[in-house]
């Protein structure tokens, strides 16, 4: 662990600054708090915001899990886990149940989280209105005055054109009935998990220099119309390896003759289920 860097890479003053932003964010659920985002030893878009939040809250006795699209074994997840193992000496894990801090990109673990866990999201674009209103001064005013009719115009247009709301990920939510929030590019499938979650949820956007949060047990509602309620979308298959019918699936192309495999995107969830004896239709073929 001896790297010559301060504990968890960032210097103490920076961590205090980030923690102050986090405290403010927790106090105003869903509100974007600006912070002095630092240069990190990885490019923007790879999780610079999430990594700064994690560095500020992590302690030596924490157990860290990092997932990227639900998987623990992708490059991004492996490097960030190794980064904290080297600079903070924390115990890395791939088990959701054992982790105290989970940094995530694009997923919420399938296993329900507990009060003693913190979920840190990597956020590319914290402003949910960014595609509808280009001026940040104006979007800040819209948040201040709770003027969110424009977001419903977007939903109206989707229903008019496609017959349903076509937002598959980063589906906008209202937090605590007050702030419109971008939940980071998690699939809309994961949105209901944010509602009344016992774990603290922190969101870090490094390039956009914003931190926001959803405290434990806070109401999070996906936007919808009364006659077009929010609906979960999921591939209509069972996981090929563990047979789960209620988890979010990835489609894996196997060959150039149309062969494909649907597997749980949450690798830990899939492995836990297989260890418990569940098996899907493709479990043997894969081994």
């Amino acid at each position: 662990m001896n790297t010559g860097y301060n504990f968890a890479y960032l210097d103490e003053q920076t961590k205090r600054m980030v923690r102050r932003a986090i405290l403010k964010a927790v106090a105003i659920p869903g509100h974007q708090v600006p912070f002095g985002s630092r240069e990190m030893p990885l490019p923007y878009g790879w999780g610079t915001g999430g990594i700064q939040v994690t560095a500020s809250i992590i302690g030596a006795d924490d157990v860290l899990k990092v997932i990227d699209q639900g998987a623990d074994d992708t490059t991004n997840a492996v490097s960030i886990r190794r980064f904290f193992a080297r600079t903070a000496g924390v115990t890395p894990t791939t088990r959701t149940a054992e982790a105290t801090v989970i940094q995530t990109r694009h997923r919420i673990p399938e296993l329900p989280l507990r009060e003693d866990q913190i979920l840190v999201y990597q956020v590319p674009q914290p402003e949910p209105l960014s595609r509808l209103e280009s001026s940040r001064a104006e979007t800040r005013r819209m948040h201040a005055l709770s003027e969110y009719g424009l977001m419903h115009v977007k939903l109206y247009e989707d229903i008019t054109r496609y017959g349903h709301v076509s937002i598959s990920h980063d589906y906008p939510v209202m937090v605590n009935g007050r702030y419109l929030m971008a939940p980071s590019p998690i699939p809309a499938f994961d949105n209901p998990k944010m509602h009344m979650m016992p774990a603290l949820q922190l969101f870090g956007a490094g390039r956009e220099k914003r931190i926001y949060a959803v405290p434990p047990y806070t109401a999070v509602h996906s936007l919808d119309f009364d006659d077009h309620p929010f609906r979960l979308t999921r591939a209509p298959h069972a996981c090929g390896l563990c047979g789960a019918t209620d988890s979010y699936l990835d489609e894996v192309v196997l060959d150039d003759r149309g062969g494909r495999l649907f597997v749980c995107s949450d690798t830990d969830h899939c492995e836990t289920r297989r260890a418990a004896g569940h098996a899907g239709p493709d479990a043997l073929a894969a081994e």
Binding site: L145, E147, G149, L150, H152, V153, Y156, E157, I159, T160, R161, D224, F225, D226, D227, H228
Partner: protein
């Protein structure tokens, strides 16, 4: 001021450097009344509209608005959220160029429904029904509800803008040259439409125009402006048939007689 005035302005003054845009302007507007502001370009008509609607701050003077409960409010002392809410519901603004007000990438139905959704309407079917009903009121076919405004003609765009503005049943509409930039036959149809809508819905309107014909057709009362001053005001027919001020006489005589 009178018991039931809707909007009342006193001593409005606004200068841009040495250029006077408004000099000590008074104005009154009663519910259901259309007030035309005429004058040549640069006479302060649009400045007056922007100050009356609270978009611009005057250097001196005050604008009072009576809300539906009958309470008076100083438009320029209102907190911004209140003023913005007013602009979304009780008031409307019709621009000369409909593209400034419409969302060109959003269907006609979405454009009309936006103010409803901003007020909290959350039922897709009802918003859509309301939008179709309003398109009918402004003589746009119901089957154009899902078309983008860029496929509309200039006159249709202006009518769409009017539908979008009136959908929340405002009590007061500010119109800045609503028929400008349209050809004469389309203008006539649009004027007819505005006149019938305003009369049927009992909307009060401040109408800025340089076209005396428009003023004569739509307005109950008229204000003639020159270099920021109101030089003559009164009932439309009275002012246009018997102009007293030299400048008004010049304006009236410059209109080609049919």
């Amino acid at each position: 001021m009178n018991e039931d005035t809707l909007l009342s302005a006193r001593g409005l003054t606004l200068h841009f450097g040495a250029v006077p845009a408004l000099v000590d302007v008074d104005a009154e507007l009663w519910p259901g009344e259309v007030l035309a502001v005429v004058g040549e370009s640069g006479s302060g008509k649009t400045s007056l509209l922007n100050v009356l609607s609270g978009r611009w701050q005057p250097q001196s003077g005050v604008v009072w608005y009576r809300d539906p409960e009958g309470k008076l409010a100083d438009v320029h002392a209102m907190p911004q959220p209140t003023l913005r809410a007013l602009h979304r519901s009780d008031w409307g603004f019709v621009h000369q160029n409909p593209r400034e007000n419409l969302r060109m990438g959003v269907t006609a139905g979405g454009n009309v429904g936006e103010r409803l959704m901003a007020q909290g309407a959350r039922h897709y079917g009802r918003i859509r029904e309301e939008a179709i009903a309003w398109l009918g009121q402004v003589e746009i076919d119901a089957d154009r509800v899902d078309d983008l405004p860029r496929t509309f003609s200039g006159g249709m765009l202006q009518r769409l803008q009017i539908a979008r503005t009136l959908v929340t049943h405002p009590r007061l509409v500010f119109m800045d040259e609503p028929t400008g930039g349209l050809d004469v036959s389309v203008q006539a149809r649009l004027l007819d439409l505005i006149r019938s809508l305003v009369a049927r819905l009992g909307i009060a309107a401040v109408l800025v125009t340089h076209d005396l014909t428009v003023a004569r057709l739509l307005a109950h009362r008229i204000m003639v402006m020159q270099r920021g001053r109101v030089v003559e005001a009164g009932l439309t027919d009275q002012v246009l048939d018997d102009p007293r001020h030299a400048y008004t006489q010049l304006l009236v005589s410059s209109v080609l007689q049919a």
